[in-house]
Amino acid sequence: MFLQQVVNGLTLGSTYAVIALGYTLIFGVLNIVNMAHGEIFMIGAFVGLMLVTKFNVSIFVALAGAMVVGAALGYLLERVALRPLRRREVSHLAPLISTIGVSIFLESLALKIFGPQAQSFPPLYSGQLFEIGTLKISLIQIIILAISFGLMLALRFWLDKTKLGKSIRATAENIETAGLLGIDTRKVIVLTVMLASGLGAVAGVLVGLAFNAVEPTMGISMGFKGLAVLILGGLGNVTGAMIGGLILGIAEVFSVAYGSSSYREAVAFGLIIFLLFLRPQGLFGSQTSQGGR
């Protein structure tokens, strides 16, 4: 059972990791936590679902479609809720509160449009089981692991090697200097938010597939887990988010397997509170950055 639970944990964890990536990208560049990320994730899931059920496209087209919608939502978010706040002198809490507002708005909008019932993807994508020894992995789990890891590696490569990726990192490092160096920081910010939201939307489709339930409140709990991973991995640290997500997934699954399943939801935040005592900059953050003072 141990190995099986590890696989369960990795699958769960990879979804957490992809969500956390969105949070950490935005934090890195804008220094804010986008509380609406969970809702963008949820809308991505619905978009994917609608594309597959109403328009009968393949799952990969659905993923792409969700990414596009997610990016569009990200653009709107940046334009409407975040950019106006950068122009004036507001406290660092204002963007946080503003994104909380967006998240509440999106959640109830989705409830109104899609209804409270959980909906599922058609059964074409589920059911196939592969057996490796005593291990049972479903096709869906394989797809999710592949796509999540693929995305993470692609993102890592892109941030390290491409010009745009490097501009993002530069802006995250220090926005004023980046501006002085000729980087169009405004464009970078918009792009980062769009990218992060696109990733979030894709994560939504993956999770919707994995657990076969898409409903408007799924953004909240996933959003919480993403926040937990954000702190676990270190604010703004991309590698931290990836590994942190996997760790959280495994921790949660193991707490069910070997402990009590009732406290599963508390594992994520229990971890954070614990971590805040010992190593607030997260597992991968550096001492001098966001953590201490």
């Binding site: 059972m1 099986q4 639970q5 369960n8 944990g9 699958t11 769960l12 409830l111 209804g115 409270p116 019932q117 959980a118 599922s120 059964p123 589920s126 059911g127 089981l129 049972k136 479903s138 999770v207 994995a210 657990f211 076969n212 339930a213 409903e215 408007p216 409140t217 799924m218 709990s221 949660e252 699954v253 069910v256 397997a257 009590s260 399943s261 009732s262 599963r264 939801e265």
Partner: protein, 385 residues
């Protein structure tokens, strides 16, 4: 600074003085209009239901059952009913405000609802103190009717249904060891679990493990993997149909083939729709058997399908019956305005034939009704013999 302190003191005292004056100068505090009456002599019944928000599916199902019954009753012409719906969003404070509004502003004759046991615990005392009958159609926790003499319910407490299903399953499947799963953040499923626990003990079965999850959870692989490794003879689950369907699917997906026994929450056509072939063989105890060979049931299902384009689940069925019970009681009491008379009339309901079977209120205003054991076969609920 001193000026400010004095200013504040001035304002506070003034405000309090005004409030006292208002209270003292107060006129008679009697209710304005006769309760329950509206133009045309229709009986006004208030409904508090979970109409928007995460659990709205259940509140909507209840609303649909009530409206269908109301239309049928009004068409018959003997009693006229007017329903006033208030949304409680599943929140206790909202339920309180809604109940207060219905009683003191809309002057209803009686109230049906609220949806959740938690809401009932908060709203019930208010209604009871005000002398307004309040009837729950989905509140299954223990102790609901102990709130007061005006609190009724026709929702079958799990304590009647579940022991039956455990015993029958044990006999049929020769069970010795079972695993239990339940949703622990929902009063409906937690009550179900407690009843299951007792029934398992009474039947001498061994519990290999108890696993929990929460409403809206979607990942059950950890719990099910753990259960599979322990090799029980059956899994007993207390959940709402959404989670139940997901669990069924996941269980069958990872190769669990043992029988799965569910609480009332399983009893919904949505379960079969969501779980598909994974729902085959699921066993449920319920007063609501949609395939029953009974004219009343058949008519209800047909009418419901015609109006709402879907099959009625247990919530709708019990709400439908509740409306009829209420109408019956109003007719017998011979009044659309006397709250006390209605209450007494309700308390004497006996031999009522509803779509959920024979019904009567017992001495504590809880339902006394029959239970059928159902199993999902070929995509439909059929009786387990």
């Amino acid at each position: 600074m001193i000026k400010m302190k004095n200013a504040i003191r001035k304002w506070t005292v003034t405000t309090l003085a005004i409030m006292f004056t208002v209270a003292v100068a107060g006129c008679g505090g009697s209710q304005s209009a006769a309760p329950g009456n509206s133009a045309g002599g229709a009986a006004k019944i208030g409904v508090v239901s979970f109409l928007s928000g995460g659990g709205a599916a259940y509140g909507e199902a209840i609303r649909q059952g009530l409206e269908l019954a109301r239309d049928e009753i009004n068409a018959k012409g003997k009693t006229k009913l007017e329903l006033i719906f208030e949304d409680s969003k599943g929140e206790k404070n909202e339920a309180i405000n809604a109940t207060n509004k219905l009683i003191h502003k809309d002057n209803v004759l009686a109230i049906i609802g609220p949806t959740l046991s938690g809401e009932m615990f908060a709203a019930g005392p208010i209604a009871s103190q005000a002398g307004v009958s309040i009837m729950g159609t989905s509140t299954t926790a223990e102790g609901i009717t102990d709130i007061g003499d005006y609190v009724f319910r026709n929702s079958l407490p799990e304590s009647l249904a579940l022991p039956n299903v455990v015993k029958k399953a044990k006999d049929k499947f020769s069970l010795k060891k079972v695993a239990v799963m339940y949703s622990n953040n929902n009063d409906f499923t937690v009550s179900g679990f407690k009843t299951f626990e007792q029934a398992i003990k009474d039947n001498g079965l061994e519990t290999v493990t108890v696993e929990t999850f929460a409403d809206k959870d979607t990942d059950f692989s950890a719990q099910l993997t753990k259960i599979a490794a322990l090799k029980p003879d059956a899994i007993i689950i207390s959940a709402l149909y959404q989670e139940a369907a997901l669990i069924l699917k996941k269980a069958r997906e990872i190769g669990i083939t043992i029988p799965i026994i569910g609480n009332n929450g399983f009893n919904s056509p949505q379960l079969i729709k969501l779980a598909g072939s994974a729902s085959e063989g699921a066993v449920v105890a319920s007063p609501w058997f949609p395939g029953k060979d009974d004219a009343k049931v058949k008519n209800f299902v047909a009418a419901f399908k015609a109006k709402y384009n879907k099959e009625p689940d247990q919530f709708s069925a019990q709400a439908y019956d509740a409306m009829y019970i209420m109408a019956d009681a109003i007719e017998k009491a011979g009044t659309t305005t006397d709250r006390k008379k209605l209450r007494d009339s309700l308390a004497t309901v006996k031999d009522f034939q509803g779509v959920t079977g024979k019904f009567a209120f017992d001495a504590k205003r809880n339902p006394a009704m029959d239970v059928t054991i159902l199993v999902v076969k070929d995509g439909k609920f059929t009786e387990l013999k």
